[in-house]
């Protein structure tokens, strides 16, 4: 499958590396060249330098042909906007966005995004760890 990922931080890098090693076609966008230097040498995907919210940069990364777009940068608002540019301007069916704010994640789910909310997921894990079960 073809994936475009915005954000080459810890999460974006990990997801990109995993998908690439599984044989998928991966493009990763970040606006800091330095972010790409932390990708492993084995990474065979494309890196695209620029603002991942921008329609043109998304196009350069191959978003119109992508099966999935993932917005994995740090800001909720940036991720939501980038995911919606991919969905509504490039016609990508499946768009995933990391949204830290639990209530806003719910709003974006209702608007058709696959909003992944680390806050609720991690709080469950923290609780389980605390109680040892």
């Amino acid at each position: 499958m073809r994936f475009v990922i915005m954000g080459c931080g810890r999460l974006g890098r990990t997801v990109a590396t995993t998908l690439d090693s599984e044989g998928h076609e991966v493009s990763i966008i970040d606006f800091h060249e330095a972010a790409f230097q932390l990708l492993p040498e084995s990474f065979g995907g494309r890196t695209v330098l620029g603002n991942g919210v921008d329609k043109q940069i998304q196009a350069e990364a191959g978003t119109p042909e992508a099966d999935v777009f993932m917005a994995l940068a740090n800001g909720d608002n940036r991720n939501a906007m980038a995911a919606q540019v991919a969905k509504h301007l490039h016609g990508v069916d499946r768009v995933v966005a990391r949204i830290f704010d639990t209530e806003r994640a719910e709003v974006y789910r209702e608007l058709g995004l696959e909003a992944v909310n680390p806050t609720s997921i991690v709080s469950d894990l923290v609780r389980q760890a605390a109680f040892g079960s």
Partner: protein, 221 residues
């Protein structure tokens, strides 16, 4: 009207000042405590400290009874989030958003911002007005409609000069509400009104008929 403004920089604060002066109920949200203190000292207790894109603060602001939300921050991602939460969660009827990067205007429109406002576009429109190569100027797009208000300046040597309005080859679905005559006099044109060189024509039309309209008045392709 109850109007909630998110972002209390120069744009947000100036908007708040005007709206308060015209008697509206206004609340301004900003995550900079100093800005909130300043605006509250100046205009009364109208500031709320918080993130205006968050459901929590929109709820606290009383977004469910707001008539209008104005997203006026310097960040387009924030402005879009403000509008989407306000419209989707609280059904605010009218959302105005500042567009800082004109490339983002398209996604703002697609996602339901009623009025994306771009300073860059405004500057470009004024430049357009000064350039003879742009004889058609966009003045306004009507809310919830494809129609737009445009301005055409009739060149002195245009084929339309000396013709009456009814003799012109106007495109369909185009109306002429006003002509500013070269002597500065406004006139509501009828079929017998004669077009003069240097007149400014205000026309309501659809984007697909812009070129035909421009041709009718300027003769230029």
């Amino acid at each position: 009207m109850y109007i909630i403004i998110v972002g209390c920089g120069k744009v947000g604060a100036a908007t708040a000042r005007e709206l308060v002066a015209t008697g509206h109920e206004v609340l301004v949200i900003d995550h900079d405590i100093d800005r909130i203190r300043d605006i509250s000292e100046e205009l009364g207790d109208i500031g709320l400290f918080g993130d205006g894109a968050e459901v929590h603060f929109q709820s606290q602001a009383g977004m469910e009874r707001a008539d209008m939300v104005v997203a006026a921050t310097g960040r387009d991602e924030t402005n879009l989030a403000v509008v989407q939460v306000a419209k989707h969660r609280y059904k605010v009827p009218m959302a105005i958003a500042r567009v800082n990067d004109p490339r983002n205007e398209e996604i703002f429109r697609v996602l339901g911002v009623d009025a994306p406002v771009s300073a860059t576009q405004a500057i470009l429109a004024h430049i357009e007005q000064e350039l003879p190569s742009h004889p058609l100027i966009h003045l306004l797009e009507f809310h919830a409609s494809d129609f737009e208000l445009v301005e055409v300046v009739v060149p002195k040597d245009a084929p339309a000069v000396g013709k009456t309005v009814s003799e012109l080859d106007l495109p369909p679905q185009s109306m002429l509400p006003l002509i500013m005559q070269p002597d500065g006099r406004p006139e509501m044109p009828g079929g017998e009104t004669v077009i003069q060189g240097g007149a400014v024509i205000l026309a309501v039309t659809l984007p697909e008929h812009e070129n035909a309209l421009r041709r009718a008045f300027t003769g230029a392709e």
